[in-house]
C-alpha cells in the first residue's frame, strides 16, 4: 500500500520528467527517444494497472503532494472513476507510442521525431494529471499543458493545412482555458476553496446559487470546447483529420473523453440542484444535435480521417448525453461510451494511419478495395467500425444500450429517438466505409502490403479489448459501477 500510494504522483511526474530529459539529452537520437518514452509509458501503464487494482479493492485514496493538506497543498485524488480513466489513458497512450515508431519514421522529418515523443509524453502525462487533480486550479494547469502539447502535435508535420488546423484549435483552446480560469474565479469567490470535495460541501451551505451557476457553466463550456460538443466542435474535424495518425488516435480517443470527464466532475461536484434547472434541457438538446449532425457530416466527408473525426463528434455526443441524464444508467453508459470510443476510435485512427503509412491514401475513394490487399489490418478496422456502429458483441452496443435504457426509464422519449437515430446513422456511415474498403475491386496501382507488426500489435490489442468488453461487459461494469455510485452520491 505504501508503495502504491506513491504511484499516483509518479505516474504524472515520470512522463513529464522524461519528456524534459528527452528534449535536453536525446534531441538528436530518435531511437533512444522512442525507447525511453516507450519505457516511461510502460511504467505508467503498469502503475495505472496497480492503482486501479488497489482502488477497486481498497477504495479511493488521496495523495497530498509534499505533505501539504488540501486547502493549501496540491491534492491528488485517486477515486474509482479517475483510476479507471488513468488506466484507459495510459493503455491507449502506450499503444500509441508503440504505433508511432514506424509511422513517424516514414511520415515525419527525422529532426522532429524526438520532439514528437516529447510532446506525446507531455500530452499523456498532463492528461493523467488532469484526471487525477483534486482541485480546479491543478486541473487548469494540466489542462493548459495538455492543450499546448496537442496544438503542437496537430501542427507538427508543418504543412499548411496542419498549421491552419493547429492554429484554429489553438484559438479555441486558449478561449477554453480562459473560461476555466474565469469559472474558477467565480467558484472561488463564493466557496473560498478550489478543492472539489470542499466545493461540494460548501455549495450546500449557499443561499444564492447565481454565482456558482455562472462559474459551473463557464467550466462546462470550457470543457465542452475540449470535448467538442456541438456548437463548439468546429475545430475538431480539421485538427483530428490533419494531425499524424497516432496523434489523432490520442486526440480523438482520449482528449475529448477527458473533456467529458471534466464535465462530469463539474456537473456532479459543483452544480447545485441540477434536476430542476432548465439548462439541463439545453445541454441535452445540444448533445442530441451533435450526435445527429456529426453522423450526417460523416456520411458526406471524403477524407477517411475527417470522417472518423466527424464521427467522434457524434460519438462523444452520446457520452455527453449520458452525463446530462443524471441517472445511474446514463452515467454508466456515458463512461462506457468514453471507454468504447477510446478503444475503437483510436484503433480506427491506427488503421487509417496504417493505410497512410503503406500507401499514402487519405481519401476514401482512393482506397477502394484495399481490404482485399491488407485483410488483417482492415479486418480489425471493420471490427472497430462495428463497435462505433454499435453492433452487438462489441463495446459500442453495450454503451448505447445503457444510454437508451436510461432514457426510456426516465421517460425521455425524444432522447430515445435521438439515440436510436444516432446509432442508425452511425451504422450508415460505417457501412459506407466498409463498402468502399471491402466490396470494391482494387483499382490502385501501388503495391500494397500488410501493415508492419509494430502497427498491428496496438491495433490488435485495442480490437481484442473492444470485443472482450462487448462480449463480457461485466469486467467494465465491475470497474465502473462503484465509481458511478460514488459520484452519484454527490448529486443533490
Amino acid at each position: 500500500m505504501n508503495f502504491v500510494s506513491q504511484l499516483p504522483i509518479s505516474i504524472v511526474i515520470v512522463p513529464l520528467t522524461v519528456a524534459v530529459l528527452i528534449s535536453v539529452l536525446l534531441s538528436s537520437n530518435k531511437k533512444a527517444a522512442f525507447t525511453v518514452s516507450f519505457l516511461a509509458m510502460l511504467f505508467c501503464f503498469v502503475s495505472a494497472l496497480l492503482i486501479t487494482i488497489t482502488v477497486s479493492m481498497k477504495g479511493s485514496f488521496a495523495y497530498n503532494v509534499s505533505g501539504w493538506a488540501p486547502p493549501w497543498g496540491i491534492e491528488i485524488v485517486v477515486d474509482r472513476l479517475s483510476s479507471f480513466m488513468v488506466l484507459l489513458i495510459n493503455l491507449v497512450g502506450l499503444l500509441a507510442v508503440i504505433f508511432s515508431k514506424d509511422y513517424v519514421e516514414r511520415k515525419l522529418d527525422s529532426k522532429k521525431i524526438p520532439f514528437y515523443y516529447v510532446l506525446i509524453l507531455l500530452l499523456l502525462g498532463s492528461m493523467t494529471g488532469f484526471v487525477l487533480s483534486g482541485d480546479i486550479f491543478n486541473m487548469f494547469i494540466f489542462f493548459e499543458a495538455l492543450s499546448l502539447s496537442s496544438y503542437s502535435l496537430v501542427a507538427i508535420s508543418g504543412d499548411r493545412e496542419a498549421l491552419r488546423a493547429g492554429f484554429k484549435y489553438l484559438i479555441m483552446g486558449m478561449i477554453s482555458s480562459l473560461f476555466v480560469l474565469l469559472g474558477l474565479g467565480f467558484i472561488y469567490s463564493v466557496t473560498g476553496t478550489l478543492n472539489f470535495n470542499q466545493i461540494a460541501l460548501g455549495v450546500g451551505k449557499l443561499s444564492d446559487f447565481t454565482v456558482i451557476y455562472t462559474g459551473a457553466l463557464l467550466l462546462i463550456t470550457a470543457f465542452a470546447i475540449e470535448a467538442a460538443l456541438f456548437p463548439l466542435h468546429v475545430w475538431l474535424p480539421q485538427a483530428h483529420g490533419r494531425a499524424p495518425a497516432p496523434v489523432s488516435a490520442i486526440l480523438s480517443g482520449l482528449v475529448i473523453g477527458v473533456g467529458i470527464f471534466g464535465i462530469i466532475k463539474v456537473v456532479y461536484y459543483i452544480l447545485p440542484v441540477v434536476y430542476s434547472a432548465g439548462f439541463v434541457v439545453i445541454f441535452r438538446s445540444l448533445a442530441s444535435i451533435g450526435i445527429i449532425l456529426g453522423a450526417i457530416f460523416a456520411l458526406f466527408e471524403k477524407d477517411l480521417k475527417v470522417i472518423l473525426a466527424q464521427s467522434s463528434i457524434s460519438q462523444i455526443g452520446f457520452a455527453a448525453l449520458g452525463v446530462f441524464l443524471f441517472s445511474y444508467l446514463g452515467l454508466t453508459g456515458s463512461i462506457l461510451q468514453i471507454l468504447n470510443h477510446a478503444l475503437a476510435k483510436s484503433a480506427l485512427f491506427f488503421s487509417a494511419g496504417a493505410i497512410i503509412y503503406g500507401t499514402g491514401f487519405k481519401r476514401l475513394d482512393e482506397m477502394r478495395g484495399i481490404g482485399k490487399k491488407m485483410p488483417i489490418t482492415m479486418g480489425l478496422f471493420a471490427i472497430n467500425l462495428a463497435s462505433i456502429a454499435s453492433i452487438p458483441m462489441t463495446c459500442g452496443f453495450v454503451s448505447k444500450y445503457l444510454l437508451c435504457l436510461g432514457a426510456i426509464k426516465q421517460g425521455l422519449w425524444g432522447l430515445v429517438g435521438i439515440i436510436l437515430l444516432g446509432s442508425f446513422l452511425s451504422i450508415l456511415y460505417c457501412v459506407r466505409i466498409i463498402n468502399c474498403i471491402f466490396f470494391e475491386e482494387p483499382k490502385f496501382k501501388v503495391e500494397v502490403k500488410e501493415a508492419p507488426l509494430g502497427m498491428l500489435i496496438p491495433l490488435g490489442a485495442l480490437t481484442i479489448l473492444t470485443v472482450i468488453f462487448g462480449i463480457y461487459p461485466k469486467i467494465a461494469f465491475i470497474l465502473i459501477e462503484p465509481g458511478v455510485k460514488e459520484i452519484l452520491s454527490f448529486l443533490r
Binding site: K372, I408, I427, F477
Partner: protein, 493 residues
C-alpha cells in the same frame, strides 16, 4: 449434478462452437479443402446439438436454460424450449443440406473471396439458430441484429452495382426494423432477466393501453420487416441478386423464419395470448397478412425473373404462417407451423433448382426457360413436385398445413379470411404452375447449351428438400410430436 450441468450448456454450445468455426473459416485463405471441411463440421455440430436438445426435451426436461449475467438489466440467456427448438431444427437441418450445394455453387461461380463468403454464411446460420435459442428478448435481439449484419456481406458478395444497391436497401429496411425492436425490447419489463419467456407473457405494470399498442406494433413492424409483411416486403425480392445459396437458405429459410419466430414470441411470450386477444390487435394482423398474401402472389405473377418470382412467392407464403399465428387459434397455429416447415423445405429446393438451371443454362428469366425440362429432367421434376407441394395438393405437407389453417377461420367464423386463403391458393397455383408449364411444354426457340450433367452435390440437396416435403406430407404424424407440446404450452391442451 453433472448430468444437469451437461445439458444446460447445450444451447450455448450449439451457438458458440459453430460460431468459432465460422470465425476460423475466415482464415482458411486458399486452403479450399479445409474450408469445405470446416463449413460441413459447423453445420453438423449445430445439427448434432439441436438433435441432442430435442432428445433432452423429450425426456421431459423443460427447463434447459443457461443465463450469463453481464450486469444490471443485461443478462444473456440461452434456452431451449419446444417452439425455439422447432425453428432451430428446421434451420440447422436445412443448413446442413445446403452446405454441399453452396460449396459446389460457389466453386462453379468462382470468386476469390470464398473465405469471406463461407465465414459469413456459417455465422449467419449460427445467428439464426442463436435467435431461436434465445431465452430472453435481449438475447433474441442481439442475435437478430447479428443475423442482419452477417448476411449483409453475403448479399453484397458479387460486388456488382446491383448487388451493392440491393445490399444497401436490405440493410436500411432491416435496420429500421431493428431500431423499432430495440425500442420495444427496452420498453418491455424484464427483457433482460434470465427467464423472461413465460407462457402467459410478461406483465406491463404502469404502461397505458396506448403505449402498450405502440410497443406491440413496434415489435410487429420490426419483426414483420424481416418476415417481409406487406408494405415492407420489397427488400426480399431485391436481394435475390445474391448468390443462390444465400437467397435459398438465408432469405427463404433462416431470415424470414426468424421474422415469423419473432412475431410468435411477441404474441405468445411477451404479450401472451390473453393480452393479445384483449387488445384486439388480431384483426389488424390478419388484415396485414392477408394483404401480404394477395400482394405477394400478384407480384409473383408479374415477375419474369425466376428468382424474383420465387422471392415474391416467399413473401406470399410466409404470411400464411403469420396469419396462422394471428388467428390465435390452436388449429390455425398448427397450420402455421406445418406450413413453415413445408415452405422451408420446398422453397429451399425451388431456389436450388433455379440456381441449378442458372448454372447449366445461364438463364434466369422464366420466358427463356422453355424446354429446360427435357435437358434437366431431374431438376425440373423436383421443381414441379416442389411447386405442387407449395400449392398444397393432397398428399403434400402444404395440403395438411392449409387444412389445419382453414380450421381456424372456420371455428372463429371469419369468412373474409377463407376468401383470402382461396384466392391465395389459386394465385399460388398460377404463378408456380406457369413456370412448370414453361419448363416442360414451352416451345424452345433457342437451343440450350447444356450437357445436362449436374454434380450430385447439387442434386442431392434439391432431392432431400423435395423428399422432405413429400415424406412429411404423407406422414404428417412425424411432425406432430414436435408441435403438440407447443400447442399445449400456449393454448392449454
Amino acid at each position: 449434478m453433472t448430468q444437469t450441468i451437461n445439458y444446460m450448456v447445450l444451447p450455448v454450445a450449439a451457438v458458440v462452437l459453430p460460431a468459432i468455426i465460422g470465425f476460423a473459416i475466415f482464415f482458411t485463405g486458399r486452403n479450399k479443402k479445409l474450408r469445405e471441411f470446416l463449413s460441413l463440421i459447423a453445420a453438423l455440430l449445430s445439427l448434432f446439438f439441436v438433435a441432442t436438445l430435442y432428445f433432452v426435451l423429450m425426456q421431459g426436461n423443460t427447463d434447459i436454460c443457461f443465463p450469463i449475467c453481464l450486469g444490471q438489466d443485461f443478462t444473456l440467456c440461452f434456452r431451449a424450449d419446444w417452439l425455439g427448438m422447432f425453428f432451430a431444427g428446421i434451420t440447422s437441418f436445412l443448413w446442413l443440406v445446403s452446405v454441399p450445394y453452396s460449396l459446389k455453387y460457389m466453386e462453379i461461380k468462382s470468386s476469390d473471396s470464398e473465405g469471406r463468403f463461407f465465414g459469413f454464411f456459417t455465422l449467419s446460420a449460427v445467428s439464426a439458430i442463436g435467435v431461436t435459442m434465445a431465452g430472453n428478448m435481449l438475447t433474441l435481439f442481439i442475435f437478430y441484429e447479428l443475423l442482419t449484419v452477417s448476411t449483409y456481406p453475403l448479399v453484397i458478395h458479387t460486388e456488382t452495382p446491383a448487388a451493392v444497391r440491393a445490399a444497401k436497401k436490405y440493410l436500411i429496411y432491416l435496420l429500421i426494423g431493428e431500431i423499432l425492436i430495440l425500442f420495444a425490447v427496452l420498453s418491455t419489463p424484464g427483457f433482460g432477466e434470465p427467464r423472461a419467456f413465460s407462457k402467459i407473457g410478461v406483465m406491463f405494470p404502469g404502461i397505458g393501453p396506448k403505449m402498450l399498442l405502440f410497443i406491440f406494433f413496434s415489435y410487429i413492424v420490426g419483426f414483420g420487416i424481416k418476415a417481409a409483411i406487406f408494405p415492407f416486403s420489397n427488400w426480399l425480392p431485391t436481394v435475390s441478386v445474391a448468390p443462390t445459396p444465400v437467397t435459398g437458405l438465408l432469405h427463404a429459410v433462416a431470415v424470414v423464419n426468424v421474422g415469423v419466430y419473432g412475431i410468435m414470441r411477441v404474441i405468445l411470450n411477451v404479450f401472451g395470448v390473453e393480452l393479445t386477444r384483449s387488445m384486439g390487435v388480431g384483426v389488424v394482423l390478419i388484415f396485414i397478412s392477408s394483404a401480404t398474401i394477395i400482394y405477394g402472389s400478384l407480384m409473383a405473377l408479374s415477375q419474369d425473373n425466376l428468382k424474383k418470382r420465387l422471392a415474391f412467392s416467399t413473401v406470399d407464403y410466409v404470411s400464411y404462417s403469420i396469419l396462422g399465428v394471428s388467428l390465435l387459434n390452436p388449429a390455425a397455429f398448427v397450420g402455421a407451423l406445418l406450413l413453415l416447415v413445408n415452405h422451408a423445405f420446398l422453397k429451399l429446393s425451388l431456389f436450388f433448382c433455379a440456381g441449378a438451371i442458372d448454372i447449366q443454362t445461364e438463364k434466369t428469366e422464366v420466358s427463356e426457360l422453355s424446354g429446360v425440362g427435357c435437358k434437366l429432367p431431374f431438376v425440373s421434376t423436383c421443381f414441379a413436385i416442389g411447386s405442387l407441394g407449395l400449392i398444397g395438393v393432397p398428399l403434400t405437407l402444404g395440403f395438411v398445413g392449409k387444412w389445419y389453417l382453414w380450421r381456424g377461420p372456420l371455428e372463429t367464423n371469419q369468412p373474409g379470411v377463407i376468401g383470402v386463403l382461396i384466392a391465395g391458393a389459386i394465385l399460388c397455383a398460377f404463378y408456380l404452375l406457369y413456370v412448370v408449364y414453361v419448363l416442360f411444354f414451352g416451345q424452345s426457340k433457342v437451343s440450350l447449351n447444356c450437357d445436362g450433367k449436374l454434380s450430385w452435390l447439387i442434386c442431392l440437396p434439391i432431392g432431400i428438400g423435395v423428399a422432405g416435403g413429400a415424406i412429411f406430407g404423407v406422414f404428417p404424424k412425424l411432425l406432430l410430436p414436435l408441435i403438440n407440446p407447443i400447442i399445449s404450452c400456449y393454448f392449454g391442451g
